[in-house]
Symmetry: C2
Subunit: 238 residues, 2 copies
């Protein structure tokens, strides 16, 4: 089964939180996590209409890590898709339709992370995400209302078909990323390229829908590389 | 070219009108028609953000007929798809995706008609529509915010491909419908069935994407039937 978690990062307008709750219920989604939200006052009630239970049951967190705990795939929304392949933060950006196609057939917890109304997600927040999604909009006025963006993503995902392919836990993928970073250090990878390359590798692996078994196999390879590097046997047999 | 007109029928909340303007601009749509709208006060400005020009350029009308003038296809949105084939008002209801597929390859003015926030479109308003569209939502809470419904429909239609198949003017289609009604009278069609049958024929022809030439050919056939009925020659040759 695919289950979805909607994560709003520091929403500013409580009316938007209410609107998001309403459209979640319209499309049958339930799990809302609010990271450092504004006060959930009257506009949240007014806009939620018959979906205020979603807000009452929302989990409120104060760190992104806590908000994302237990996720298998973390999807970050951006209104600014990367312009060049050199900007790995937002590249590649999938459309909501492509996201649906990627997720179909899988099983796991998918966190859909939406940024602040005015400033979106910060680079360090996007870095954590496995996939980046952008809604294709007009270049003349690309900035969408938060709840409209949620509406469109949930509309697409409302009939996605789950499968029995169990996605790796995001925390295991993080361990894999950490392990890759270690190996890059071990091989004395060029420092001025290192950060970009690490991010590029995250983006590549993030869009692979890795299963737990695949992550373990890759870590096995990395351990083997490290062992070989440490025992210093490489090249010695010459 | 396909061009789109967004028609809001008696919107109650000016904030919704502003939200609709914003999402129109997000997806590159321009023509807004407001039928008997609420006062377009501060919330309309606030929610439109950088799209208030759409509201300033909106045409305000006081009859649905005027609002729809010049349309080729009229699409009515409903939150309540028909439950049985016996209810021709809302049958068949297409999804936004199916609407896009139907429109692809055509050329003409498509009016997308959205009803009141509380009560939607009235039956007599749905009757005028060529096609009915429903966004598939959860049965637990199907009632969507007006601007969310607009957002989803425009998101789907934002990349529809136009073609060179020129759709008939809706006013010509209305003349065809009137002509069919005449013929049903001429043949003394059973009165208790007449209204349902007329509506069913509208629904059938409404989803055919008729071209102007096709409408004229059908009216030629109807004229020929009427002529034959009037001159009374039918059966006389026996």
């Amino acid at each position: 089964m695919l289950t979805f978690r909607i994560v709003l990062v520091e929403p500013i307008y409580s009316g938007n939180v209410g609107s998001v709750a309403r459209v979640m219920k319209n499309f049958g989604f339930e799990e809302l996590v609010l990271l450092n939200p504004c006060e959930l006052d009257r506009p949240a009630h007014l806009m939620a209409v018959h979906a205020y239970d979603i807000i009452e049951n929302a989990r409120i967190e104060f760190s992104l890590k806590d908000a994302l705990k237990g996720s298998n795939i973390i999807v970050g929304m951006t209104g600014l898709p990367g312009k060049t392949d050199n900007k790995h933060f937002r590249i590649p950006a999938y459309s909501p339709k492509q996201l649906k196609e990627k997720l179909a057939g899988n099983s796991g917890v998918v966190s859909l992370v939406f940024g602040r109304e005015d400033a979106g997600l910060r680079n360090e927040e996007l870095e954590i995400c496995d996939l980046i999604v952008n809604i294709p909009t007009s270049p003349i006025y690309p900035s969408m209302n938060l709840s409209h963006a949620v509406a469109i993503v949930l509309y697409e995902l409302s009939d996605v078909e789950s499968g029995v392919r169990y996605l790796a836990q995001h925390s295991d993928i993080e361990l894999l990323y950490g392990h890759i970073d270690e190996v890059l250090d071990d091989i004395e990878y060029k420092e001025h390229k290192e950060d970009k390359t690490k991010l590029m590798l995250r983006r590549i692996l993030g869009r692979c829908d890795l299963t737990g078994r695949e992550v373990q196999t890759m870590r096995g390879i990395l351990r083997r590389i490290q062992w070989k590097l440490k025992t210093g046997e490489y090249g010695k047999s010459d």
